[in-house]
């Protein structure tokens, strides 16, 4: 183990104080959780800027200061590659997946699979997505352990257990609103902390010129060598991160999806995503990588100050310790990074709870009140934390966090990514083809893992095969290809017509088998018994997959080709897209058992709104970001201009103050 960086009690007081402050900040907002909808999705109320900043903490945390500082120290500015290759899939996301997720009101990604295919495909998707998220949580814990290892000098797993207990307690009581607000604060702090390291580092070196000239041209190139070395090359990372990783992050990261579902409208979600990728990701990449660049420059300019024996994953901590002359600043930076990692882990734990509650628990334990599900979600959060810690051992076998993460993305994401992608964008993608993507795709991926030279080799773009960790990154191309090929091929073989025939045939075989065993001995003894038992059993399984399979009509609103229908279903009638004004109004209570708002006739005209349209009302203070807001429906108008009549349930849900005016926006 590296030497321990010595710290005084002041350092630890600041660390504990920072955590207490951040957790207290989030917990304050946890009071806005009224039900499971709030716990998981924050009541779909927030403005884009609030969500985009909260995504920074999740993204930066998960892609971690440690991981990128290590690669930045080793390979230079090309450590930025992974943050700067996300735009290619943005059209698919902004105008495909995001509106589908929002308008269909799906509660989880497996929920989408049930609507798009059927219940059994949902089960396959649930297994895959839980595996993905638990792995992600484990990587988060491992990163956190490695951040604190050189500071505490404790055993890595002791640190991970302590961190897991704190994270588990926090998310169990906080929920999504707490996570969003914690991440909002963290987003600002992280950008500031990263920028501070850069400024202090440049100052430590003696100026930008010294920093720039200390680094060779090769180090300053923004993209890595095309296919060398095997543990860090452009083409492998493009397929692993730019394709599998980007699609995985945008399309199947339940935590991120839940953030977008917490925005007040699809357009706000689009703004949050675009702003994040265009501006905050380039900033984030500098923030997370610069410690590695500064470290490299220090090792050239003042080699006597640099401890060349440190592990790569400890470069960040070493640089932070060197460039911050004050222990208080060092403590602040370490606290910010550690708390960011906590945010990432918390988001994922919350997402696991959402999947387990909505996809497994609720279908089994039906008709309970919301408090029951909320309590169950808290226990599941604790369970997910525990599983995450147990899974850490697998990822600890990789030389660096970067490679562990790369292998994880290359292996876990392709089947789900392809199934989601073809499901959204290809109408002909059938239920049996989706099953084949998971089953046949996973089998071919397993074969690729077993015979990498023979199967992944043809896709390697000239990358050398490392015999210990063969094709960590470029395997993403092979895995994506085999899953895509399985999905496409089986869609042509098992068309909808074929699926109907299979359903009829298998149902007939199952019925014959049932009839046979009802008149014969249940013990399987004769050849005929074996035939009915084996073939009947197989047909029963196949039948469960083709039964209730999607038809052209049932695809309304859940593929990109029928999005208008999705909007119509979301509203319950034809959307009204006529542009209108956003008046400021005072509110009054109108007692009723139903839920609605009533504006004056004049203001309805100003807003170009009709009775039955959807409206969003928020506290007029924009800086609240929609925290105090509510969605409702326009009821019959009145004649009192400047006043909106609202039913008590809406006032309670929006937490509106009597002396505060509201801003009204027609949604559709």
């Amino acid at each position: 183990m590296d030497h321990v960086i010595h710290t005084s009690p002041v350092f630890w007081i600041i660390i504990v104080g920072y955590f207490a402050l951040i957790l207290g900040f989030g917990s304050y907002f946890a009071r806005y959780n009224k039900d499971t909808n709030d716990f998981f999705f924050s009541g779909r109320r927030f403005s884009w800027w609030l969500i985009t900043m909260s995504i920074v903490a999740t993204g930066v945390g998960s892609h971690s200061f440690l991981k990128y500082s290590a690669k930045a120290f080793e390979h230079g500015f090309s450590s930025t590659m992974t943050y700067m290759n996300d735009w290619f899939f943005v059209p698919f996301f902004l105008f495909g997946w995001l509106p589908i997720v929002y308008y269909t009101r799906i509660r989880s990604i497996p929920d989408y699979f049930e609507r798009r295919f059927n219940r059994n495909v949902r089960i396959l998707a649930t297994i895959a997505i839980l595996g993905y998220m638990i792995g992600y949580i484990a990587i988060g814990f491992l990163t956190m352990g490695k951040t604190l290892e050189p500071l505490l000098g404790w055993d890595l797993y002791t640190i991970i257990w302590v961190v897991a207990i704190i994270a588990g307690i926090y998310i169990t009581f906080g929920g999504q609103t707490a996570v969003i607000f914690t991440d909002l604060a963290q987003g600002f702090v992280l950008l500031f902390a990263g920028a501070l390291i850069f400024i202090l580092g440049i100052n430590y070196l003696g100026g930008f010129d010294i920093f720039w000239n200390a680094l060779p041209s090769e180090f300053k190139l923004p993209l890595a060598h095309f296919n060398q070395p095997s543990n860090f090359n452009f083409v492998g990372i493009f397929w692993q991160d730019g394709v599998a990783g980007s699609v995985g992050f945008l399309f199947m990261n339940q935590g991120l999806i839940m953030r977008f579902m917490a925005t007040k409208s699809v357009n706000e979600g689009r703004k949050a995503a675009a702003f994040n990728i265009l501006l905050l990701l380039p900033l984030s990449t500098v923030v997370t990588s610069n410690a590695g660049w500064i470290g490299k420059a220090i090792s050239v300019v003042t080699p006597e100050a640099w401890d060349a024996s440190i592990k790569l994953d400890h470069v960040f901590t070493q640089v932070a310790s060197l460039v911050t002359s004050s222990e208080i600043v060092f403590a602040f930076i370490i606290a910010a990074v550690a708390a960011a990692l906590m945010s990432t882990v918390d988001t994922l734990i919350n997402a696991v709870a959402a999947v387990v509650i909505n996809d497994i628990y609720r279908p089994i334990v039906k008709d309970k009140d919301d408090k029951h599900y909320l309590k169950a979600a808290m226990f599941i959060s604790a369970g997910a934390t525990l599983l995450g810690v147990i899974t850490v051992t697998f990822f600890d076998n990789f030389p660096t966090l970067y490679e562990a993460h790369g292998f994880f993305h290359s292996t876990m994401t392709p089947p789900l990514v392809i199934a989601i992608f073809l499901g959204i964008f290809w109408k002909r993608y059938t239920t049996l083809a989706a099953v084949s993507t998971f089953v046949v795709g996973a089998y071919l991926m397993w074969l690729g893992n077993k015979y990498p030279a023979f199967l992944i080799g043809p896709f390697d773009h000239g990358i050398d095969m490392d015999p210990v960790h063969p094709y960590s990154y470029i395997r993403a191309l092979y895995n994506t290809f085999v899953c895509l090929a399985s999905g496409v091929l089986f869609s042509f073989i098992f068309t909808r017509k074929v699926e109907v025939k299979i359903e009829k045939y298998t149902a007939k075989v199952v019925a014959s088998a049932v009839a046979y065993f009802s008149t014969h001995d249940q013990n399987v003894t004769s050849t005929r018994d074996i035939y009915y038992a084996v073939w009947g059993g197989f047909c029963k399984i196949v039948n469960s997959f083709v039964k209730n399979a999607a038809t052209d009509e049932s695809l309304d609103g859940i593929t990109v080709w029928t999005l208008d229908k999705a909007r119509e279903m979301f509203k319950g009638s034809k959307p009204n897209d006529e542009p209108g004004l956003e008046p400021i109004v005072r509110w009054k209570v109108e007692e009723s058992d139903k839920s609605f708002v009533r504006f004056s006739k004049n203001q309805m005209e100003e807003m170009a709104a009709n009775v039955g349209d959807l409206v969003y009302l928020s506290d007029k203070r924009k800086w609240l970001g929609g925290l105090k807001s509510v969605h409702s429906v326009y009821a019959e108008p009145h004649d009192e201009d400047g006043v909106v009549y609202m039913t008590p349930d809406l006032i309670d849900s929006g937490q509106f103050s009597p002396d505060r005016a509201l801003r009204a926006e027609k949604e559709m």
Partner: protein, 72 residues
């Protein structure tokens, strides 16, 4: 200073925006064809501009950074 090879300098940029470009413009084609983006709507017209801007913004950024690394 040793000469950096094409594999180290410009090939990654070409590959990134060649293959990435196929994905990006393929995505644009699909959302136009599916009519989920409607150029006749003012809001969507702005989004079309943002989408193209994003692609060329990142392309310009990578070209600039590569050029700066090699020449400054």
């Amino acid at each position: 200073m040793h000469e950096l090879s094409f594999f180290r300098t410009w090939l990654p940029v070409i590959y990134l925006y060649g293959v990435g470009g196929i994905i990006f413009f393929g995505g644009m084609f699909i959302i136009f064809k599916a009519k989920t983006i409607k150029p006749e709507r003012l809001l969507h017209k702005r989004w079309i501009k943002v989408l193209y801007f994003g692609f060329f913004y990142y392309l310009a950024l990578h070209v600039f950074l590569t050029y700066a690394a090699l020449n400054f």
